[in-house]
Symmetry: C2
Subunit: 339 residues, 2 copies
DNA sequence: CTGTTAGCGCCTTCAT
DNA sequence: ATGAAGGCGCTAACAG
């Protein structure tokens, strides 16, 4: 036998349905669910049972409307096919979910315009907080953010202007990896990249600075592609590179998948790694540790970035002042057999 | 015209703020935004300007509450670190976004319990539709779904019971790949898998059926790990396999990353591929096409699955009967040099 | 084409 | 520890 709801249609049970069932007022049900200590033990149990019986599911829209808190936070990343951002998202989720927040995930596909569109849409959800990747928001997006007055933390890069951020210096990492190659004696070092996003550009700046400082910079050794990086593209980039600068003795790949692709292509061409050509990657993706030879790379703090950014956001949302508004998580050079 | 209450605080502009500014009623603004043809050209322009001027952003919670339509759909996938699901998500987005729907993405981490939790939470958003992976929902989750009465489409597998679904036969694909190996003359074929989800199990069933049929099945050649698959794990699995069944002449890896890991480990051990050991993978991930040798695999319809599933959901949500409630997208065997 | 009247389901503020 | 009244911002259903 089913309890008949005095409501038309078969829309789901509401707070007052549960209230009617238990014989108390709606607000008491609300309290039992949200602030259990304010309701007596006995009542609470009866309420819980009624909730189960009626299959009551709270209506988030109503709650958000009435409380002006949505309990959801927007997270915008440039790509979901890059393990870097997936790991970061996982960390954010691990931190925010226990705190009662729902993630609204947006994939900007490396486009500030798309990011702006997503932001506009997600702002309609009245998010309590926002997590963005980098600082290359469109002016309109920046305005939206400013006007919304919603706590926002930027991930993956460091800001000089005081905006809350968690990441590491992209420039320094590019500089450091290039310096490592220089220290190992390589002199004709190429730079291969896909997806010219701001972080890639900044790593490239680091690469260039290191080489110029050593008097070894040669623009013909820098090669990029507009598409998302992949193993296949790594091979293609090496082919292009060898055509225009056949004397390279090392390549700095902006992502490990490119590096693995370069390795595969080198093998196909009978180029020995690292004897004829050294290969370095970036991001320390799983596969680069296991190839033959294993690939030198830069371990970047992706999980930690998500975790720290979520912490900072939690603080900001609670109105607390975070310990620091600029958290530099650093990076680690992993020298392996490919260099 | 109704009275506009001057709002306190700096909460953002509402419909009636815009209405007051323009000198019309709130509903007219609402219409100008949602059903522009119902509003005169001239008024619409003035409204658009006021919207821009005040930085008006609609409140989704209020709209959802008033219209009992949330314009969002829930998509639950087992993992975001598997390219398969990321591609599927991309397809769903490409289809649903233009139709005005927002995706609420949930990562179940291959756990039905986690899936149930996510479902419970996301149901609070009153989604207009639901996209799930596979059919292994917990009983409670199934009840929730049934009670919610929300159109739902299952992805990646095929159902016999009439539930809407888009995918391919996991069993057949496992059977077909194993048959290919048998046809090539391999006799001692191993099966390596991570993440024993229902799809993996079903592929394993196909593998087993093919071998049993040929009188060649040997349980000691089946190896699994509970953790998510990765290149590194592929190497580990090969090591374990060779310890307990050193005479294998082929391995069927449940995912391409495992296959690449097996290849790397084989190289390290001086095992020639495919002469000493043939390697086959699954899912046709980018890298498997470029390794040396390239890896035989099964191309699965991940983008198409998302796309078709979204179409079917769109039809269901519109109250239309989809052409078919069970769409079999098939799969393709890609024989390459590793076998 | 535009306006009025309600009320979506819940929570806030005050009461008891 | 529990309840009553009111309203969050928007749109459905009817006017006109």
């Amino acid at each position: 036998m089913t309890a008949r709801k005095p409501r038309i249609g078969q829309s789901r049970a509401t707070l007052s349905d549960v209230a009617a069932h238990v014989g108390v007022s709606a607000i008491t049900i609300s309290r039992a669910l949200n602030k259990p200590d304010l309701v007596s033990e006995a009542l609470r149990q009866r309420i819980d049972e009624a909730v189960r019986l009626l299959g009551y599911v709270p209506n988030r829209a109503a709650r958000a409307l009435a409380s002006t808190k949505s309990n959801s936070i927007v997270v915008l990343v440039p790509s979901l096919s890059n393990a870097v951002f997936v790991d970061t998202l996982a960390a954010v989720h691990d931190k925010l979910y226990p705190a009662g927040y729902q993630m609204l995930i947006g994939d900007t596909r490396y486009s500030p315009e798309q990011e702006e569109k997503l932001l506009r849409t997600y702002l309609e959800y009245n998010p309590d907080g926002i997590l963005l990747t980098g600082f290359d928001q469109t002016p309109a997006a920046q305005q939206l953010l400013a006007a919304s007055n919603i706590p926002t933390v930027h991930m993956m890069e460091l800001d000089e202007g005081g905006r809350p951020c968690v990441g590491f210096s992209q420039f320094d990492s590019g500089y450091a990896l290039t310096s490592l190659l220089l220290a190992k004696g390589y002199r004709r070092i190429a730079f291969l990249a896909a997806q010219l996003d701001p972080r890639t550009l900044r790593r490239g700046d680091g690469y260039r600075a290191a080489l110029q400082q050593a008097g070894l910079y040669d623009a013909s050794r820098e090669l990029t592609e507009p598409n998302p990086s992949s193993v296949g593209m790594g091979g293609g980039l090496l082919a292009r590179l060898l055509a225009q600068a056949p004397d390279c003795d090392a390549v700095f790949c902006n992502n490990d998948d490119l590096a693995v692709g370069v390795l595969f292509e080198a093998q196909r061409r009978g180029i020995r790694v690292p004897q004829d050509l050294a290969i370095a990657g970036f991001n320390n993706l799983d596969m680069s540790a296991w190839s033959n030879p294993a690939i030198t790379t830069v371990a970047t703090p992706r999980y930690a970035t998500g975790s720290e950014a979520a912490d900072m956001l939690l603080a900001l949302m609670a109105g607390r002042q975070p310990a620091s508004l600029k958290v530099d998580l650093g990076f680690e050079l992993l020298a392996r057999d490919s260099t």
